[in-house]
């Protein structure tokens, strides 16, 4: 229907009905979703860990023998490894967000991230090695 007004301006086509487009999720989406889920799981894991090593057992008795007894059961090894992996990844991702915000120079940001990622990788490898090989 003509309104007598020039309609040279481009018309936006309804995108909701456009076929074949890709979903909107990207790395940042899943990184955010991971934080929500891992945060919830970590509350449970950390509280159980804290209760066992500080309340149920006296903290002064939490030594290598205590750990050896506990890790007789591979499920406890799995529990501790999950706690290690999620805590490291959750913390690392939070640091990544903060670095993106606070370190504004691209070069410096790359260096800081490289350092943080390397440290996290070393800690994760060392922790995993300990949990798997501890006898």
């Amino acid at each position: 229907m003509s309104t007598g007004v020039s309609t040279d301006a481009p018309v936006h086509v309804a995108s909701r009905t456009t076929r074949g487009r890709r979903p909107r999720q990207n790395f940042e989406t899943w990184s955010w979703f991971f934080m929500r889920i891992s945060g919830l799981v970590l509350v449970f894991l950390a509280l159980v860990h804290f209760a066992l090593t500080h309340i149920v057992n006296d903290v002064v008795e939490t030594d290598a023998v205590f750990v050896a007894d506990r890790w007789e059961n591979p499920l406890w090894r799995l529990f501790d490894w999950t706690l290690l992996a999620l805590a490291l990844l959750h913390g690392l991702n939070g640091l990544r967000w903060s670095i993106d915000d606070y370190v504004r120079s691209p070069a410096r940001r790359a260096w800081v991230k490289a350092g943080v990622y390397t440290l996290s990788g070393v800690l994760f490898a060392y922790g995993t090695f300990t949990i798997v090989t501890f006898a």
Binding site: M1, T3, V11, H12, V13, A14, S15, R16, T17, T18, G20, R21, R22, P23, R24, Q25, N26, E28, T29, S31, W32, F33, W97, D100, D101, Y102, R104
Partner: protein, 270 residues
């Protein structure tokens, strides 16, 4: 309030004495609407032609009442004490969103904060995270650039309704009612700690404006808007600090709106 009786008549005069005796408090004591107040305004001044960095200047404003606003006190200073004091205000009644500033450390519209609530020792400074042009006036250009980036207008399908209406049920209208209240005062965006450190973050206000159209059943531009908001400078920068929700003079649930946009992206299917 007669202007002639307002500013610096005689220090320690009758009105000043009354004011200091009856200084209001947020936490205790009843402040009668007829009480006469002497207000100490500490304003963060910055004149780019003279100053290298901002400095605080103190003004004493007498003969105010608890029902006067911080804006009234600023007017008294500008009109009768120091005409060089720069601040924005237009409607002066909480509608236009011109006079967002940091009052006693919190973002607010100066025209909405009563002296009876703010007390008699008040600090006022420019909103944070945007370049200060002079005193309480900031450069809003980056803020409005981010506002425009989310395409804050109705994007419709090709079916031209001509002179007809694009109808909508009351339920569909209700879905985005909260985010229609935004007056673009920038109180939310400039209260956001992420925005302070990372000016590339699109900010709460732009997301609120996008939310207003994303959840509008008549709009068809969701895809374009999510391209902007799903980017690393978009909604994922939000850390749910809730500063924006606290700061909004219109009471918009800003953080909730941001979370709803996140969920739309998370649930998006091709």
């Amino acid at each position: 309030m007669p202007p002639s009786a307002v500013l610096f008549p005689e220090r320690g005069g009758k009105l000043a004495a009354l004011g200091s005796l009856r200084a209001p408090s947020r936490h205790n004591g009843y402040v009668a609407p007829t009480d006469v107040l002497t207000v100490t305004l500490r304003v963060k001044r910055f004149n780019p032609e003279v100053d290298r960095k901002p400095h605080w200047q103190e003004f004493t404003v007498e003969d105010m009442t608890p029902g006067d606003r911080v804006l009234d006190a600023l007017h008294q200073v500008k009109w009768f004490e120091d005409g060089t004091l720069a601040f924005r205000r237009s409607c002066a009644h909480g509608v236009c969103g011109s006079d967002a500033m940091v009052v006693n450390g919190e973002n607010a519209l100066a025209c909405q904060v009563l002296l009876g609530d703010a007390g008699t020792d008040i600090t006022v400074e420019a909103i944070r995270g945007l370049p200060v042009v002079k005193d309480l006036v900031v450069d809003m250009a980056p803020f409005f650039a981010q506002y425009r980036s989310v395409l804050p207008w109705l994007l419709t399908p090709t079916d031209d309704p001509g002179y007809g209406e694009r109808r909508q049920s009351p339920e569909d209208r209700e879905r985005f009612d909260d985010t229609t209240k935004c007056i673009l005062c920038a109180a939310c965006t400039t209260s956001c700690p992420v925005f302070w450190t990372n000016g590339s973050y699109v900010g709460p206000a732009a997301i609120v404006q996008a939310h207003r159209f994303i959840f509008d059943s008549r709009d068809a531009g969701t895809s374009e808007r999510l391209d902007v908001l799903g980017d690393r400078t978009g909604v994922w920068r939000c850390r749910t600090a809730f500063n924006c929700t606290n700061a909004c003079p219109r009471g918009i649930k800003v953080t909730q709106a941001i979370q709803e946009v996140k969920r739309v992206i998370l649930a998006d299917r091709a």
